[in-house]
Symmetry: C2
Subunit: 177 residues, 2 copies
Amino acid sequence: MSRRKLTPVEKARREIYSVSCLDILNHQNWMALALEQAQQAAQEGDVPVGAVIVRNGELIAAAGNARQRLQRPTAHAEILAIEQACEKLGTWNLSDCAVYVTLEPCCMCAGAILQARIPLVVYGADDPKAGAVKTLFSLLNDSRLNHRCEVISGILDTACGKVLTDFFQKRRDEKKG
Amino acid sequence: MSRRKLTPVEKARREIYSVSCLDILNHQNWMALALEQAQQAAQEGDVPVGAVIVRNGELIAAAGNARQRLQRPTAHAEILAIEQACEKLGTWNLSDCAVYVTLEPCCMCAGAILQARIPLVVYGADDPKAGAVKTLFSLLNDSRLNHRCEVISGILDTACGKVLTDFFQKRRDEKKG
C-alpha cells in the first residue's frame, strides 16, 4: 500500500508530536522515581515529597523529604538531592542537570535550584500553601536574578498530590483513633 | 544636688531609649562575631558572608559561606549555621533563636529561615542583586506564608559591606596582575 507523501507542515507537526510524547514519557519515568522517594519518606513519618536529579539521561541523585527523620529544617527532598548530586559530581554547579520533584518547590528549594544553576525543573503537583515557582511566587523566572529555569509542571500531578493527601488523612485518622 | 522627679512620660522615654541603646549594642556584638566568620570565609576563597545563631543570649552556631570550599551551592552562611544549631539543639524548630547575618539573605536562605521558624533576623548590608528580605522580595513578611519574622537591618552595615567590596576588589586586582 503506497502512502501519500506528507506536506512539510504535516511532517513538522508529526515530528513535534512524537518528540513531545517521548519527552512526556521520559518526564513521567523520572517523576515515577521521585514518587518512590516520596513514598519512602512517608514510611519514615516525613511529609512525602521526593526528588531526583538527572544528567544526560542518567540518574545522579535521589532523595525524599527528611525533616523529621534528620530534625533538620533544610532537609527537603530537593536540597538533599542537590547536595548528593554536588557530592557525586564534585562541583556546586549543576548547569547540565535537571531536577524532578513531586511537589512545587518552596522559597528555600527554588532558591537552592537557582544557586545550583539547574536549567530545567519538572514538578508534579502545585503547592497552594508555599509554592514559589508559580503559585505564590515566580522565583525561577525573575529577570532581576542571575539565573532562570525552564519549568514543566503537572507531570504525574494526580499521583504526586495523592501521596500527600493520603499521608495527611492517615495522620488525622491516627489522631482521632 | 537634688534632681527633679521625672514625669511618667519622661520616664517611659528614658526607658525606651536606654533599652534600645542596649539592644543595638547587643546586636552589634553578635554581628561582630558574624563578621569574623565572613572574614574567615574570605581567607578560604569564599565570598565573605558570615552568620551566627543566638538563643537566650548564648551563641549556638557560627558559620561562614563555604560554597567554594565545600563545592556545595547550599553552603551559604545562614544554611550552615541553621544546620549546626539544629544539630546542637536536636530539633528542626529554632523558634527561640535569632540569626545574625552580615548580608541580606537570598531566596534560599530566607526560605530556610522560614522553615526553621526563626522569629528574629538581624542583618548588616542590603544585597541589591539577590536580597530577598527587603530589596528584591519580602519573603520574611508575607501574610500568605505560615511564618513571618521580625527583621532588623543595617547593623554594622558599613563593615559588613566593606568586607565584600574588599574581597571582590582583591579578586579583580589578582585577575589583572
